[in-house]
């Protein structure tokens, strides 16, 4: 009710409630101040593949961009890639021995060679399986941008830029359902995809190898926490450590998070001590140099989401206990955090500059946490159910009409179990005074007074209690659009589009209003090559310049 004024004006959607009308009730576009977002196409899993276990797992999507071009043999730009090139080349040479040049292609593009030890087991099986055949398309060279998503007991791979609704590949897990996954575009030895299972098991694989393989099983995988030997509770979230040299973290439903390093033996028992106090944060390191190398006990109950800041300095966690926690990753120290209004927190995301963290949860609120102020600076009200996905739009450029540089506007989005996508603007100057009062001015929300404890800076490592409703400035969404018929699970911003994902495994791709007039200076953007691919011709030539 609070936001009805703002959202109704902008909303082109059918009312989000009440009628059970299926897809026809959903509009294929929504309006924003900058223009119309249009439904470009949809991706889903093949019908009839659903097992009875389906529904217990929620679909998540990972966007993966395979950068390297197959036909580009050793070339320029090795300097920027630095050490990483060594590993790839090592793998490439090994691969090259057993296979044709096509298989070699995925590691091409870099000079220099610094052979690495410890990769031999993987390389061996890798060589055996990548025969260079591709399902239904002889010219397929596994380049471009892919969607990796889980449904039931399978992982599906779809080509983001093709119109095909169905995935190009499925990988089935016989024992347990995949829950979470993560992709590292800068992986050095080809293992760029992590998959965490309901059983607690974790795999790392090369995405390209999965694409090149014809089978329905995971190939050439490194298996961690086999049969839940270290921790048999559900994997809730996996993440590569930015600039972490192939290290990654795995969060579990029992409140523990593990750090894994590549090239470390994962067969033995790292034997972590018993957790004395379930409510306290504690870190233990493996006694021998084995995987996982460390265990962080974060909280009681499930860790529902983790996110690294872009520079890898901080990691944020959210969980069943309703707390957002921010850790200094290197120093293994709790920096700050705070509780939701009520209920569990389900998701979190950083702003690109590391200044803000968004969280969403069971109080139907989108929280904006300020790293500078170490407190919640705004609550976004507008969802009619739990908030399951949040993300900053890092491609958004605020209109610079007034030319005031300080008044930074962040654009972010959220999706909820109310089937809605909401877009928000966070304007820093507006936050000083509570923003946009409720139309109709309920006295409860006359937010002028800030309670005294509110302004006190809190010492490092303390968690803040839930603030009172009247103490936190409120935001209203810019747009509220009902995008699916099923509750949503996540959203992703790309340069050209917004991806919305529902729990049952349907993905919609909404193109941004207009097309970018020129390529942005952001050379690392996921979309730069995909745009080229649409206009095909100069794809190969052009792409090389994007590798810088």
């Amino acid at each position: 009710m609070m936001n009805s004024g703002a959202s109704n004006n902008m909303m082109s959607a059918a009312p989000a409630s009440g009628n059970n009308a299926p897809a026809p009730g959903l509009k294929t576009y929504f309006k924003t101040p900058e223009g119309k977002y249009k439904l470009q196409y949809e991706k889903t899993h093949p019908a009839g593949l659903l097992h009875y276990g389906h529904g217990k797992t929620v679909t998540q999507v990972t966007l993966a961009h395979l950068k390297d071009k197959p036909t580009q043999a050793p070339s320029q730009s090795s300097s920027t890639l630095g050490v990483s090139s060594g590993v790839r080349s090592a793998a490439a040479r090994l691969l090259g021995g057993g296979n044709g040049s096509r298989a070699l292609s995925f590691v091409g593009g870099n000079g220099g060679s610094k052979p690495m030890s410890g990769t031999t087991t993987r390389i061996g099986s890798l060589g055996a399986s990548s025969t260079g055949n591709m399902v239904g398309n002889p010219n397929f060279d596994a380049k471009g941008t892919y969607l990796v998503f889980n449904v039931g007991d399978a992982i599906f791979l779809s080509d983001l830029n093709s119109q095909d609704k169905d995935p190009i590949k499925s990988i089935h897990f016989s024992n347990s359902n995949p829950i979470c996954h993560a992709y590292d575009p800068d992986a050095k030895d080809g293992h760029d995809l992590l998959i965490g299972l309901n059983s607690g098991d974790v795999y790392s694989v090369s995405l390209r190898q999965q694409l090149l393989d014809v089978g329905k099983k995971l190939v050439a995988a490194q298996h961690y926490n086999k049969d839940g030997a270290v921790n048999n509770s559900r994997c809730t979230c996996v993440a590569w450590i930015p600039n972490g040299d192939g290290s990654f973290v795995v969060a579990h439903a029992d409140g523990n998070m593990y750090i894994y390093e590549k090239n470390k033996d994962g067969s033995g028992d790292p034997s972590f001590p018993v957790i004395k106090d379930q409510t306290q944060f504690s870190v233990s390191h493996a006694r021998y140099s084995k995987n996982p190398v460390a265990r962080w006990h974060i909280c009681q109950g499930s860790i529902n989401g983790i996110a690294f800041s872009a520079d890898g300095a901080y990691i944020a966690t959210v969980g069943r206990d309703g707390y957002l926690r921010v850790f200094d990753y290197k120093n293994e120290q709790l920096i700050c955090g705070g509780k939701s209004y009520y209920g569990a927190l389900l998701c979190c995301a950083w702003s690109m500059d590391g200044k803000y963290i968004l969280t969403g949860g069971e109080d139907d609120l989108v929280q904006v946490w300020s790293m500078e102020e170490r407190k919640i600076v705004a609550w976004g009200e507008g969802h009619n159910s739990w908030v399951s996905g949040v993300s900053f739009d890092s491609y958004w450029n605020a209109p610079s009409s007034d030319g005031v540089a300080e008044n930074v506007v962040y654009r972010f989005g959220s999706v909820g179990q109310d089937t809605q996508l909401l877009l928000w603007d966070l304007e820093m100057e507006e936050l000083v005074v509570p923003v946009r009062r409720a139309p109709g001015g309920s006295p409860t929300f006359s937010t002028g007074s800030q309670s005294s404890h509110w302004d006190n800076a809190c010492p490092v490592g303390t968690l803040q209690p839930a603030p009172s409703m009247r103490d936190v400035p409120k935001l209203s969404p810019l747009v509220a659009h009902r995008v699916h018929t099923e509750p949503l699970s996540s959203l992703i911003f790309t340069q050209e589009s917004i991806l919305t994902v529902c729990r049952e495994g349907h993905i919609k791709i909404w193109t941004r209003p207009g097309l970018p007039e020129s390529q942005s200076s952001n050379s690392d953007s996921l979309s730069s090559t995909s745009l080229k691919e649409k206009h095909s011709i100069s794809g190969k030539v052009a792409s090389s310049s994007y590798k810088q």
Partner: protein, 360 residues
């Protein structure tokens, strides 16, 4: 049954809570509506303790005074004083008394659990009020007795059922002509909420207390203007109850069909909840401790089970059977996002207890 009991004991192992009893309730032909509600009430610990105390204070009275209150007190005492930790009990006397007291529940038809809860709580209130009147009259004869202040004209008696379950709503109506706000207080023992597809309890509560405009055919008689006027109306919670019972209106009367239809909407309920639209300064916080679940696709048949939190474990009560379940399994009772679904187990009555009240 014995096997099921030992299974539960095994599952809990050393964690079996000291002094706690987990007993299934026998079904006497479609009495699952009753069993599911009784389990939820039994695990409303302050309420249970009150009943057990009541039983021990009144057990010497003859059978002539038997009523639903004494039967319930007896049943709860019977469960809590079992030698075994788990097993099955037949709530025979209670069900017999219930059928005698109210002919709605007399037959062997499927009954509405919320109607039963409502009837039971109001009936307990009636009995307690009558007893209190009796005590008062005796007190006039015998001098002051405990708990009763003599000589002071009392407000309507506040029984311990009120103490736990009663909250106060304020119905505020603002005349749009003279701006006068008329406030009327109403008491409630539970809140019945309209539900929407893919929404949350938070959202349903917001809708419940959202501002409604009275106009056209539905104008408000303003005492100051002495005429029918357009007005804005809203419900606020003036006094939140210690035990907040939320009833989801899943059975909707369809006029075209001239019968009730079950809404299987997915309505998510958090394990912790706050009421933000109260008139008090602090947002009162609640924790979910029981859910009565309706199983089935229609209103006139089906089954009731309950989920109960006891000592940080969640238990699943299905008549005679008691099982442990994981907290994460609760989400399977939210409802279905699509109309036609195999999932027919839907949360119907939610029991939240105030966290603050425990500390006081």
């Amino acid at each position: 049954m014995g096997v099921a009991g030992s299974k539960l004991e095994k599952a809990l192992g050393d964690h079996f809570p000291e002094g706690e009893r987990y007993f299934g309730l026998e079904n006497f032909g479609n009495t699952c509506y009753c069993n599911s509600v009784l389990q939820a009430l039994y695990f409303c610990v302050p309420f249970r303790e009150q009943l057990v105390e009541y039983y021990s204070n009144n057990k010497n009275q003859g059978d002539g005074d038997e009523n639903l209150l004494t039967c319930l007190a007896e049943l709860f005492t019977q469960i809590s004083s079992q030698k075994k930790k788990t097993g099955v009990i037949a709530p025979k006397r209670f069900v017999q008394k219930l059928r005698k007291e109210n002919d709605v529940f007399r037959g062997y038809m499927h009954q509405d659990a919320h109607e039963f809860l409502n009837f039971l709580l109001n009936h307990l209130v009636d009995i307690l009020e009558k007893e209190s009147h009796k005590a008062k009259n005796q007190a006039v004869a015998n001098g002051p007795s405990n708990g009763q202040v003599n000589g002071v004209k009392q407000e309507p008696t506040v029984t311990w059922v009120h103490k736990y379950f009663q909250g106060i709503l304020t119905n505020e109506t603002r005349c749009l002509r003279c701006e006068t706000v008329t406030a009327r207080d109403e008491t409630f023992l539970d809140l019945s909420l309209d539900i929407e597809q893919n929404s949350s309890i938070t959202s349903c509560l917001k809708n419940f207390s959202s501002t409604e405009t009275l106009n056209a055919e539905d104008k408000f008689f303003c005492d100051k203007c002495c005429s029918l006027q357009e007005a804005q109306k809203r419900m606020k919670i003036k006094k939140p109850p210690r035990i907040l019972v939320i009833h989801l209106k899943r059975f909707k009367f369809m006029e075209q069909l001239n019968r009730h239809k079950k809404l299987s909407y997915r309505v998510v309920f958090p394990l912790e909840l706050k009421l933000s639209n109260t008139m008090e300064a602090a947002d009162s916080e609640y924790s979910l401790f029981a859910v009565v679940v309706h199983v089935g696709s229609g209103p006139n048949h089906g089954h009731y089970v309950s989920l109960v939190k006891s000592h940080n474990h969640w238990l699943f009560f299905d008549d005679e059977n008691v099982e442990m379940i994981d907290e994460s399994a609760i989400q399977t009772f939210f409802g279905s996002a699509q109309e036609y679904s195999n999932n027919t187990d839907h949360g119907y009555i939610l029991f939240y207890e105030s966290i603050v009240a425990d500390k006081c």
